[in-house]
Symmetry: C2
Subunit: 362 residues, 2 copies
Amino acid sequence: MTFEEARGAFPVLERYAYLNAGSIGPLPRATYDAIAAAERDELEHGRGTWRYVTRMLEARDRLRASLASLVGVEPELLSLTTSTSEGCRIVLAGLGLTAEDEVVTTDAEHFGLTGALHASGARVRVAKVRDLPADQALDAILVEVGPRTKLVGLSHVLWLTGHIVPLEELRQAVAAPLLVDGAQSVGAIPVDAAAFDFYTVSGQKWLCGPAPTGALYVKDPERLAVALPSYFSQTSYEPDGAFEPQSGALRFDPAWIPVGFLDGLQAAIDGAPDWRYDRAREVTDLCRRRLVEAGYDVVTEPGHGTLVSWRWPDETKEAAQALADAGVLIRDLPGTGLLRASCGYWTSEEDVERLVTGLSAL
Amino acid sequence: MTFEEARGAFPVLERYAYLNAGSIGPLPRATYDAIAAAERDELEHGRGTWRYVTRMLEARDRLRASLASLVGVEPELLSLTTSTSEGCRIVLAGLGLTAEDEVVTTDAEHFGLTGALHASGARVRVAKVRDLPADQALDAILVEVGPRTKLVGLSHVLWLTGHIVPLEELRQAVAAPLLVDGAQSVGAIPVDAAAFDFYTVSGQKWLCGPAPTGALYVKDPERLAVALPSYFSQTSYEPDGAFEPQSGALRFDPAWIPVGFLDGLQAAIDGAPDWRYDRAREVTDLCRRRLVEAGYDVVTEPGHGTLVSWRWPDETKEAAQALADAGVLIRDLPGTGLLRASCGYWTSEEDVERLVTGLSAL
């Protein structure tokens, strides 16, 4: 697959310099086609049939296997969720923490994770890593870990700075389980989730699938309570709700996922080129370099994820909106003074130049 | 709107006697069109834009108002969920029950409710109503209610028998809050949810919307903890996840709902005729009468919901599959020996005759 072919899969790129996959990815035509075909089938042949349910279950199996392969885990240990936030809620609700417990996170996390940490009732200790050089993050996190720590919950790639957290070192240094939020990693950089206790996946960001879609890896399903059961969680149940759980992490599957979304995410995954990570790395480096050359105060260090953030002296929301009017789509990060560009394997040199030109015109 | 016009909105009815809205409703063409249009917009104009987010938020407001009006409550007190199961999980997780507490339910509930009751950790007391005459259900439920009862959770219309639970009398007799599962009521019979503490709504059954869609009414949002927060739950948040909740029940909104699903459920609601409940009542009575006349052991008493169940002496799954092969779609109710037909305002006399003829050919 050539770069032009890969890029040609996304009609939105014909109109915009789309640099916002960190919020939500561009949609491939094949994904749209899969959704439309499945919805048409529902329209004409109904949703309450054996054939339909069989098709739905087969699509779940297929997608589970693809997502598991993508993050290097057994399909049996992967739950199909609708978002990384939902994955975090499943884990925190299942751990049954109390006010005596502590959980550790960083000050550069999305509310999808920290909201769940807060709601768990445990004391949340926040490591201040956002304004530190990336190589000092590990020490800052370890300082917050203590005998009461029941979970360390943080991102693989921080959504505010784009920095990669040194998870492997963290895992070796900490006895408590690790919940890794993969919102900004899966599909953007190579991921091997098997080493961690919990790992969340977003289908709608770097994998370019329908929203909402996602997954949750659970290393040891027997040790996490099914706090939020769905009809998919059980193989049989009693009138009082007691139930035989599905095998492995399938017991955590929280929801019906539309057939079109299962097929649509599958199509998006199947359509990605095998050079995806190399190209994303390259164009992110280019984007970062061009912003530095243009004189912006870039906070993202070289060689991390595929997000690039830089300080903006004025209202970030106004800047992002003005850029959008010029056809350049990026993200303002509220309350931080930062603007952020997301670079994917589909991003062209011209997209990067449109960003730099657009910024200079503000 | 004539009956023929209303029926003509559902292409699946041209092929099948579709009597399975209790599992999942027929899909109107207008809903398909709304989904396809929204997905095409995502494809061509992207999902990470101000225009798109604004459109999404407006569609949420509009749908929230329509659903609230449908069940007679203030929009401010209605959370947009993805299913009745999710609504039950939000309530049970928020109540913070312990093993000292008791919750009361019936033996004719769906796992979507009882699974959440079980997972709450409270003792679940099960009122045996399934094999009782409908007018003895209230007493059977009240027997289980005691000083430790922290919640009574049950359906408005029981999915196994189609019987309506006398909620108004129950509410007056019980001090504990009432969680009403509206999966088999909203869209099928008139509903006034305002009198109850919690009421769940399914968008994909009798309202004929996309799956998964739904809602949760919360009478007093300040008194239920936000145990499963999402990005929609807050107006601002701290690094440790502490947050200012959204007003009213909006704080319980658990998930992104695709624009096409918001618009699609809206189209389905807007397309329903104002004679929906009268016609559904009439054709359900007809269906019940015809099954009784044909000699079947109908367990559903006259004048209840829009489900009709009857005992089947052989394998129910085989019977339902054989009927499906003959173009008649009903539901077998696993482990009960019951078959179930769902009658909507769109159901014709001919559909009912196809069911009776199909059964006699088994």
